[in-house]
Amino acid sequence: MPPIYLTDLIAVGLVGLAVIVMAIVWIANRKPPVNPYKNINTYDNIDALMHRSSEEGKALLISMGEGFSGQNSSLGDSVGVLIEQILLSRSVFNDQPTHSFSGDSALACISQLVLHGAYENAMASELFRSEHTALSGVSGFGWMAGMLPELARKGNGGMILTGTMRPEHVLIADLAERKDVPLVAATGSLAAQAAFFASGSEVTLGEDYYLPSIGKVNQPAYQNQAKTMNWIRGILVIGLIVAALLKLSGVLP
């Protein structure tokens, strides 16, 4: 029987550590924190975009990225679905419905469920239309190509890109700029973050993407997760420094 590798054991240890720290933070944060963390700027901008599009009677577009399946190994789209859920739950009664576009079949189906759930929770199932969420392509390029004509339409109040992206998707930012459509990009992909940063769009940097909190929605989870991340980061930094010192002193091989 093949052995279990050391990296697997380290991964198990990290998951265990994360669970323990999460539990401690969750127990310690039963009351609202005295000095809460500020919201991430990019997510505040999504909130502002939602209010503006609602006041102007324009439609919001959400692009959900390339999806869960295929060659993507990131969890980015879980955050994308969460952002979609927040947006839809707050824009059900807007004059113009919010449209979402997915680049993956599984994501398109889940997105359809999220949309239906948002209307059902608002007791407005009769307003639900399946065409408000669509699969716009089954690859990174296909998804982008299917979405660009929708972005070019008149009457769009803004576009939110969320999920797994590639630097190539900066074409969307370029079109949004030319059409004067405000764009916010929330992605966990480093290369895409760099490309969107260069394009001048609002973009999440680093792990900010994994801390979605729009307005007051998701605040408790955000506070807990930010604190847990800070604690684990601290532990990891100490671990790395100790390991480096041990290596330098010859204790570790």
């Binding site: 697997d8 927040i86 079949s105 599984a106 390029f141 190539e168 074409l171 260069a198 847990t228 980061r233």
Partner: protein
């Protein structure tokens, strides 16, 4: 309870799969079975999503929605690809060449366009974001590493310089590793929140 049950089932399945991934020497056969289920489910999802896409565009054509010409092109090319694929078979060389003749030039043209747009973005970054430590370091590092990685210059012949350049070339990797640790942590915690059913929205 009606709402909790799916969360409990999802959490248990997720935790079992997570454990199975870590202890693959013992769980590989079961993991393979479950992954096959996942492939079947995602294939069905693809069928459902494509049917949805097709119906949506047919609806756009029937309504005469602005830009419905794109919908007509989509429906026609979809049907042509599907029928030819069925008739000739997916491995047919003529069918594959036909698909590649359309896809490869299109993707290349898009890549060329993206190169131009990224170049213009690099020039515009200071106008859009202003002159700050972040933008200046972003611009300078982009230029320096572009220059270093072009491969036009060989620094090995100059003693000492080769080692300095090689150390410099490793800098982006080191920076990316730091960012990736943060992203990994974020993804891990988000995954655990989903597994424990803690991702529900609350104000």
């Amino acid at each position: 309870m009606k709402q909790r049950l799916p969360v409990i089932i999802a959490a248990i399945s997720g935790l079992v799969i997570l454990a199975a991934f870590f202890f693959q020497p013992f769980t590989a056969p079961y993991l393979g079975l479950v992954l096959n289920w996942a492939i079947i489910v995602s294939s069905v999802a693809l069928l459902v999503a494509i049917a949805g896409l097709f119906v949506t565009h047919i609806r756009f054509i029937l309504k005469g929605r602005r830009g419905f010409l794109y919908s007509i092109i989509l429906v026609l090319t979809f049907l042509a690809t599907l029928i030819l694929g069925w008739y000739l078979g997916l491995d047919d060389p003529a069918y594959l060449i036909g698909i590649q003749t359309v896809l490869v030039p299109l993707e290349n043209a898009l890549m060329a366009l993206i190169a131009l747009i990224l170049m213009s973005a690099a020039v515009k970054i200071f106008r859009v974001r202003g002159w700050s430590v972040l933008t200046i370091s972003f611009g300078v590092s982009a230029l320096v590493f572009l220059f270093l990685n072009l491969g036009f210059f060989q620094f090995d012949s100059i003693p000492g310089l080769g080692a300095i350049v090689s150390a410099l070339q490793r800098l982006p990797l080191i920076g990316a590793r730091g960012l990736l640790i943060g992203l990994g942590l974020g993804a891990l915690l988000m995954g655990l929140r989903v597994l424990f059913g803690q991702e529900a929205l609350r104000e």
